[in-house]
Amino acid sequence: MDVHDLTAAYALDALDGDEAEAYERHLGQCEDCRTQLAELNETAGALAFGAVAPAPPARLREAILETAAADRSNVVPLLQRRWVARGLAVAAAAAACIVVGLAVALTRSSQTRVVTAMVALDPAGNATLSVSGLSAAPQGKTYEAWVIPKGQAPKPAGLFSGGASTTIRLKGTVPENAVVAVTIERAGGARAPTTTPILSTPA
């Protein structure tokens, strides 16, 4: 039996367990099969759109999101340090929109909070900041967002109170190479940051 012949069957999940294993071993050594499989996988995936079936019940979405929230297994690498603030530039999206995401894990004694924040930026420099997992600001305090253009002073970009998920549109525009940061300030906000940022995009 020629293993090359199995590409279509593999893409359709039509191999039995041991055949699939043999094919996967072969795949490691055969560039042609890898290329062909990538193509046929896309086509097999397209067949999924051809199925006629009822809509899923609404509870399925809830169940998936709740289980994912409880799961958290995909944040493990971030929990290795006590305070980790790590930014990442995520793949530029379609219409030249850029998203900068940052995830912060705050560990205090036995309690672990995972905070994720994301800045979505359109080509004109308009930006929104989405933060989830941040506890509500303490009494008399607020979270304040800042846009810090390279080499310039931070500009106040909006206040929010935290708790659950928050999305705010940042005031003004975010120029290239600017940093977006969040500090805790006195209620009403400050004109310049007075505390160390708890969140910041990479410089």
Partner: protein, 193 residues
């Protein structure tokens, strides 16, 4: 719904999911959940089993998003492959719906009202392409992909040598690729915002 993610590509959403951004997982579900459930339901012919398969697949997306490599294929393909594999594993274990799907049980009615126009268009395109295949190739693809039959099971059921089944699947899938690759054939999510 966290619609500010609506302008992001599927691949950017997977990258965010890898960083525990739940709204990214929610957005992926909103894009592909219906197709995923439709596929699982078609294979399993059972709502509860289909829900389980879709949930397992999306949790795998959540847990392994950091290992997704965009160069190897589209995120939507990855997600739907996970759903398909899961559903096929279950159906082979259960052996329950087989006679039914062979008899081409009546298709469940689709509630067209809330169905996305884009999804309807994609379904029509795929069905049209399938209709354009020679009967033997279409049969092999449908029984394998929607029925969850392995190539050896197909050979036995259809009374054909294994080589014939393999070649029908290969030729059929390659022909589908050509048919779907024609203009307007992009199957990936396209933002309308």
């Amino acid at each position: 719904m966290n619609r500010q993610l609506a302008h992001l590509s599927d691949e950017a959403l997977v990258a965010l999911a890898a960083r525990s951004e739940q709204s990214a997982l929610a957005e992926l579900y909103d894009r592909y959940g219906r197709t995923a459930y439709g596929l699982a339901f078609r294979i399993l012919r059972d709502g509860t089993l289909a829900e389980d398969a879709v949930q397992e697949a999306f949790l795998t997306v959540w847990r392994t998003a950091s290992r997704f490599v965009p160069e190897r294929g589209k995120a939507s393909t990855w997600i739907l492959t996970l759903v398909h594999r899961r559903a096929v594993d279950v159906v082979r274990r259960e052996q329950r719906r087989r006679a039914e799907s062979l008899d081409r049980a009546p298709e469940p009615a689709v509630e067209g009202v809330d169905e996305d126009a884009w999804l309807r268009l994609q379904r029509e395109r795929v069905q049209e392409a399938l209709r354009n295949l020679p009967d033997a190739q279409r049969e092999a693809l449908e029984l394998a992909y929607y029925g969850g039959f392995s190539q050896s099971e197909l050979a036995e059921r259809l009374g054909q040598p294994l080589g014939t089944i393999k070649s029908r699947m290969f030729t059929g899938l390659s022909r589908m690729r050509e048919l779907l690759g024609e203009p307007g054939g992009e199957m990936s999510w396209t933002s309308t915002t």
